[in-house]
């Protein structure tokens, strides 16, 4: 699978224009459906060399938080449903199931993705990192700790997704500014309104990570 496709499923944060900005500017919807459509076309073009899998269950091996896990899943099962329904890894949340809110954010080969917009079968052979891996030996990751310190969470339902988005953002942007944080996290939504705490937490976590408090 190509890297290009991943970019489509990924929340903004790497580029200079956030998805929300883009939508506002362009006034059109970019949805998971469009992405899937392009993927299908790419597959069709590949013709006979592409093996046909499914529609029944197939064995799928995922490397999650460093450990390989084999499951029997229909090829259409999303990475999010695989994690939540089949592996009891429920940190990533299902909120919109359509690549809008970021509550399902996990890190795939170092980049944040919406797990509801990635098929489990596509994530094979990749390093999948979920929020469950961030706490090591009972010690919170500096990003999680900064969320606690700055009260960047109320009901907490968006929080795991935001924590993963912040972690991935800081991995790529070790010297963030308030402005870059707002752009970089524009792909995640919170209903309780914790953005003030999240902005502060992201800026503080950047400092802690640099100060050597890096968990993973």
């Amino acid at each position: 699978m190509s890297r290009k496709k991943d970019k489509l499923a990924r929340p903004p944060g790497r580029g200079s224009v956030s998805r929300r900005d883009f939508l506002r500017g362009a006034g059109v919807a970019v949805s998971g459906g469009l992405i899937a459509g392009e993927t299908t076309k790419a597959r069709a073009a590949a013709g006979a060399t592409t093996p046909i899998l499914g529609p029944g269950k197939v064995p799928i091996t995922l490397r999650i938080n460093g450990k390989p896990q084999t499951l029997e899943l229909e090829p259409r099962v999303t990475l999010l449903d695989a994690l939540r329904n089949h592996l009891d890894l429920t940190g990533a949340k299902n909120v919109c199931d359509r690549g809008t809110c970021g509550a399902c954010t996990v890190i795939l080969d170092g980049d944040p993705v919406y797990a509801c917009n990635v098929l489990a079968i596509e994530a094979q052979g990749r390093n999948i990192q979920t929020i469950e891996s961030l706490t090591v030996g009972g010690k919170l990751h500096p990003v999680s700790a900064a969320f606690v310190e700055h009260d960047a969470q109320q009901c907490g339902f968006c929080t795991p997704g935001f924590v993963m988005a912040v972690k991935a953002f800081l991995d790529h942007h070790p010297n963030p500014t308030m402005e870059s944080v707002e752009k970089g996290l524009g792909g995640n939504l919170c209903r309780c309104g914790t953005y003030v705490g999240i902005r502060k937490a992201a800026l503080q976590a950047a400092k802690s990570v640099k100060g050597g408090l890096h968990n993973a």
Binding site: R20, C101, G156, F157, P160, V181, L189, G193, T194
Partner: protein
Amino acid sequence: MPSCKYDWPAAGQRKHIGKRISRIDGPDKSSGRAKYTYDVNRPGILFAKVVGSPYAHAKVTSIDTSEAEKLPGVKVHIVQGVGTEIHWAGSEILLVAAPAEEVARDAAQRVKIDFEVLPHLVHEEDLSKVGDRGKPTAEQKTGDAAAAFSDPDAVIHEGYYGSAIIAHCCMEPHGQVVEWTPDGNLRAWESTQNVSGMPKEYADALGIPVTNVRVMTPHMGGGFGSKFGADRWGSECAKFSKAVGKPIKMMLERDLELVMAGARPPHYAKVKVAAKKDGTVTAWESDSWSTGGPTGGGIPPLPYALNDIPNVTKRHTAVATNIGPIRAWRAPNHPQAAVLTLCALDDLAAKLNMDPMDFFQKNAGLGGERADMYRQELTKAAELSDWKKLWHPRGTKIAGNVERGLGLSLHTWGGRGHNSRGTVTINPDGSVEVAAGSQDLGTGTRTVIALTAAETLGLEIKDIKVSIGDSALLPSGASGGSTTVGGVSSMTRRGAIDAREQLFAAVAPSLGVPPDQLEAVDGKIQVKGSAAKSVSWKQACAKLGMNSIKAEGKNPGPCELISSGVGGVQVADVSVDIETGLVKINKMVAVQDCGLVLDLKTAESQCYGALIMGISYALHEEKIMDNATGRMLNPNMEFYKLAGIGDIGELVVHMMTGPGYDERGVIGLGEPPVISPGAAISNAVANAIGVRIPTIPITPAKVLAALEKGGVA
């Protein structure tokens, strides 16, 4: 000094109260450990999906589930059979369930239901088109508005204002996981604001004793007023689970969550207001209308906040629609009433050529017993927003395409603590637990319980275990109306003081003084004022031998620990791009009181969150209903827009604390700060562009349409 046994400690003696305490369940949430209803997986579980009506008003004429039932493991449960009528789109006709979630979704697609479509009404803004669905209520009168309006010296403004219907859009949708034990007990994990009240709902619907139902909500992902009941889908899910003999998880999919699981009613009004030339408001007249969905719904409290206007005449029409039942939405009816009132008064101030800050200071007396509070808060808000420097008369052209403006609003709320019971346990090993059937919606329920107990027992917050979210615990009220923090903190205070008294009695002999000469401070039980004569907390508890102390705390109870009635003032500072119509928030200031602040950090979070929710509903949110089909056109989070992290500008929160506030005791804070943003932002936009956008949300299309008719463009 406290004069009543259970009083809050005096200002100088507070170790935790009023400090900036991190929420105690923060680490569980930010590490992903916190388990929500949606996260509960049970062995052999089935995933259920709702098959709802595509029509807003229809009769079910046939149901065919045969194709769905051909899929592996699919089960069907009819909620509403052939011949029944539905009154809003999405309304659940049946449930399907399967061992795999994707198969359950397939099954839902394969169900065929025929309907006889009936006439619907999903728009109420144009009252001339609602026909006999509108029911006028009796006119209410105070003083003589007609006479006041005909005073030749009166300055009069007339306008139309409104606030569109919006959704709750909780991040965790409504839903539950239900499971029956072999002996006929129901266990339900439920995303609810009402843990203790829930078993009765299930028991009544299922015809089983309430003792056979246990409801658990360890964490829940937002409610905002929409999650008080088990809902029909909850009890039907329990019936379904019993019939198939398997646990079932049924969380609403996002589209149905937005379509039918909660809406804040719209409110519209034609308003006429009058003032004397010096700005003193003299009269109010309004014709308001709204809908509660199938029923007429609530009446907005008009005129809002400044409700002592001497001459008032008001009429209201309730419209029954097919948009689905409205639910309480954080400060029910107040944000809408604030738009109807504060925008009209702001327009009157503009007509009088008065700075609204001066105008509202002048009229603060109309706020009755909140008058002084409003005055102080207006002064503080003016200072924090740099009002004097930044405010300009309405519509003053600045330069270029971006116009900046300031606006303000004020609000009030009750917030008296609800009934609450809980148990404070001190064990011989020194461990302490407070347990109550309450819930934490993200407001910090756990944290205020822990800090109150720690304060009372002279311990650290980490020394207190808090158990909530389980109906097996002593009952505590539902979390609505900003009543939880007052309820559980006063319950905890009373229980912890009684428990402490029992501990003092056990320890007193060894310290050679009567129990009432002891105090609990810094992890010790000591003779009052004498740290030398002390035993450690652990040593003290060891004296209990085999017996834990269990004291029940209650609210209400002796001593005035809580009260009600808060005020708040907010200022919005916005920029409007007059070419695109986009409104950008530069800054918002919230000045808020809530009596005695228990935890400054989570209190401020409530205000920040309210400002952000307010920005969201003022600029983005609307359930867009389609007249032709009766359906919601934007039932997804792409087009039902919430404000994002880049949309909020700078937010400043100032809590009024100290003398004059603290001694009022604890008052709820959840709703009040969410009331003003709509009116404040609307007023700021009017100040920027010189014309009023009559209804919120203030979308670019509305801004451009208004500018066509006038203003700075």
